[in-house]
Symmetry: C2
Subunit: 493 residues, 2 copies
């Protein structure tokens, strides 16, 4: 293993610690194209597991997949007023459709004769092109609901990028649904928020707050934006997923009407919802430690690694035969096992490598183990080791994988508890933010002005108004005006 294992700790440089894990654990790297990443095979295999779990959840809730064009005609963006107003203008714009050989012989140049009549935008999100398509799909209430999801790449020309967390191109899924009533569309948006929360908590082992965004933080074109917010180890929040109730805004912009049962024509009601490769960032930051990546078993590409420790070929052969049986038994239970018997790498290096890559369980088997019928079993989450009888291994591993999954969740929820505070004055609020960050519950007067001022002065934003929030009358920490509930502030990714 030629890899450089000097890497940062959370304490020393949190941001470098994150980058070191992403790059040195072979999850992703920067590409030659500004702001775009290469997702490496190990990182991509985690994303594939996320995709598979989410896709099944979408299908189990009645959704189907489809695919819409990468390109959106520029004019489409102008059709929904608040969408174009609120949405970032940083997009990749296609203006030409042909290259040609440079007449001076210097490679290739853009052919000036091949300018598009109308420029095309690489989709930053697909509401416009999809609602333009739905016009042809929906005539009557019988055509509703339309429950479609798309797995796709999207591009937002971010100026400051970070692997997985903020990249110009990223992978995501976007659901776009059409309904006969506002109630159905709202309940779809709420249902998908629940699906996201279920996935992030039960697969990623990351606890989330469910809430509604303030008007300031809403998706451009939405009536309401629901979100799940997670807390990272440095006390910063990360928005892990959003779902939007879009009202009839896009239906009106793209003239999508349906005949109701009584024959009356009305505009269709909409929701949209999405999660992206940003979840990879949340996964990495939520659990990892100063020894590298820590993965929850449900999303680990390798759940168990087995390393033989041997003095000669004869011993290796013995160990390998024994391991073959265990591996087979584990695989029969759906557990992913890697047996690493490479002979050019020392066991200690293998240990460090799999530790760094977050493999939940490691088994080491040496000569003495073979004599005693034992194996050494090491947990990545607690970094503890124990000696286990070979005959007990399979059962033990099955239990431990469940235990690790649940332990990671508990650890994350305890961290969040420790980093969740209540502030009753603006001074306390600012002190808490600078001290250790975290979620801060505080009273707010409900105005965008106050929200904006607090953001300017402290860089904290209102992450959400929690669902089913407790109502209590008090004073806004900033303006002193009347407030009816606490909202959740944090600095965020």
């Amino acid at each position: 293993m030629s890899k450089d294992f000097v890497f940062s700790t959370r304490e020393k440089d949190y941001s470098k610690w994150y980058n070191d894990i992403v790059e040195k654990a072979d999850l992703a790297e920067h590409s030659a194209v500004r702001g775009c990443m290469v997702i490496k095979p190990y990182g991509y295999s985690i994303w594939e597991k996320m995709q598979a779990a989410l896709d099944k959840m979408f299908k189990d809730t009645g959704h189907v997949n489809a695919y819409f064009p990468l390109f959106i005609p520029k004019s489409f963006f102008s059709k929904e007023a608040s969408h174009v107003e609120g949405f970032a203008k940083e997009c990749a714009i296609v203006t030409h459709y042909r290259l040609k050989n440079d007449e001076g012989g210097k490679g290739i140049v853009v052919d000036p004769d091949a300018a598009l009549e109308e420029e095309l935008i690489i989709r930053p999100t697909s509401e416009t092109i999809i609602w333009n398509t739905y016009r042809g799909w929906i005539q009557s209430y019988r055509d509703l609901p339309v429950l479609v999801n798309q797995w796709a790449n999207v591009v937002r020309w971010e100026m400051r990028t970070r692997l997985f967390l903020r990249t110009a191109e990223f992978l995501w899924q976007e659901g776009h649904t059409a309904h006969a009533t506002a109630e159905e569309a709202v309940s779809e948006a709420e249902k998908m928020l629940d699906v996201y929360a279920d996935f992030v908590e039960n697969w990623m082992a990351v606890p989330v707050l469910k809430g509604v965004k303030t008007p300031n933080e809403r998706f451009a074109g939405a009536i309401d934006t629901y979100c799940i917010e997670a807390l990272m180890q440095d006390g910063k929040a990360l928005q892990a997923g959003t779902s939007h109730f879009l009202g009839q805004n896009f239906a009106k912009a793209f003239d999508v009407k349906f005949a109701a049962k009584d024959g009356k024509l009305d505009y269709v009601w909409a929701s949209s919802w999405g999660v992206s490769t940003r979840l990879m960032g949340a996964l990495i930051m939520a659990h990892s430690d100063d020894a590298g990546l820590v993965l929850p078993p449900k999303l680990a590409p390798i759940q168990v690694v087995i390393v033989p420790i041997y003095k000669n070929e004869e011993q290796l052969k013995q160990i390998s035969e024994m391991v073959a049986g265990i591996k087979k038994s584990l695989e029969a239970k759906g557990i992913t096992v890697k047996y690493d018997d490479r002979d050019n790498i020392r066991p200690g290096f293998k240990f460090a490598d799999y530790e760094f890559k977050g493999v939940p369980l490691r088994i080491a088997i040496g000569g003495r183990d073979m004599e005693n019928g034992t194996a050494e079993l090491a947990r990545r989450d607690t970094m503890t080791k124990e000696t286990v009888k070979q005959t007990d291994l399979v059962e033990k591993i099955e239990k431990l994988l469940i235990e690790i999954q649940s332990n990671l969740y508990t650890r994350a929820i305890n961290r969040r508890k420790a980093a969740t505070h209540t502030a009753d004055t603006y001074d306390d609020f600012k002190k808490m933010l600078d001290d250790k960050g975290g979620f801060i519950y505080a009273h707010w007067d409900g105005t965008s002005e106050t929200e904006q001022k607090i953001k300017e002065e402290t860089k904290a934003t209102i992450r959400c108004i929690p669902l089913n929030n407790k109502k209590e009358t008090a004073k806004c920490i900033y303006s002193g005006k009347t407030s009816t509930q606490r909202v959740v502030f944090a600095r965020a990714y």
Copy 2:
């Protein structure tokens, strides 16, 4: 069902017949963006089945997935001389990264201050960006082979587009592998050709010819291009997949070297291979008939549809209870079943709809069937019906699905046999082409000039030189010069 069921036949207008099936069976439609298609949920679910089967085959042969940027810096294209020379220049080109509100208040315009320093090309294929990345991944023979695949969208600015067969944007997978020796890279290209042939024959039920392309038809930058060629019902060939031995061309262009066991530095050897949503076009054209789409059971999103025929609620309830049991038994065997008990659509319309959508088996159950303990079972491939005992249904269906899969393959291979000819003179050759098309085995002198002339005069191209081709000395049908083997000509999609 409001759908218009007037559609073309193969005889009347083959091209319209194809489009009618694609559009009216809800597979795909044209989008608002020139040359780009929307893949509709029913079509996409077939593509998902293709993806799942192929992805498993790739992984079973040792490959892993990764993801590389959508954008390729323009200068990358100039680095591999024959790649830039041979590759079509029709690409989507990103020149700007920001929009702005029009000062005149007329929507949005491209911000002229946001021109990119170097234009970015939307990937038409990813050899260049991937080999630029591999330079960082490969130092030693221990890093080889690299066996990576990517599922992605690509764009080629085609002027004349047809749904699935030729679209500006399409979905595909592209494998890009790196090896220590030429032999390994060649054997990888051959192995993946076998994987493709296996998939197309055993899943799509479409027989293929395996062969090598002539230099004229090679991928730009390849030393050798292997291909599988299928024959459609109108006698035209369709290239269903290709794999390329790229030599050291891309490694040299992007300076990717490795230290061999003996310490010597050498350029890395490469292969690449891909299939795309074009396979959907092949699938549709290979089996469908004048009653619509015909799908092989292994790729059918719905394998069995059950339609109740009832006079009253009581009868429906009885039928539904019986069907629930059968559905459960079928699903336990991994068979996909849809029970269509919609009460606003007449059975006859349902029959026509599922027939048109290619559902392999249809069961109808009415009042008399309930009395007799029977059901009517209809096959989509042969359009035959039979009465079956309800107690025999599950076993019968399981057998029939296998039989239909194999029958479609046999039918396709018989069609191909009937449309495969041998021409010994250029006159015969031309007559065969105009008469019924098909694959024509003919002697060719091996020169690009002759190949080009024949193409100009007849629109037929050399589809491939079959693998393990029989050697026989004779005269080229065009030039009369010596030829050592027959090659396969056809007009093609």
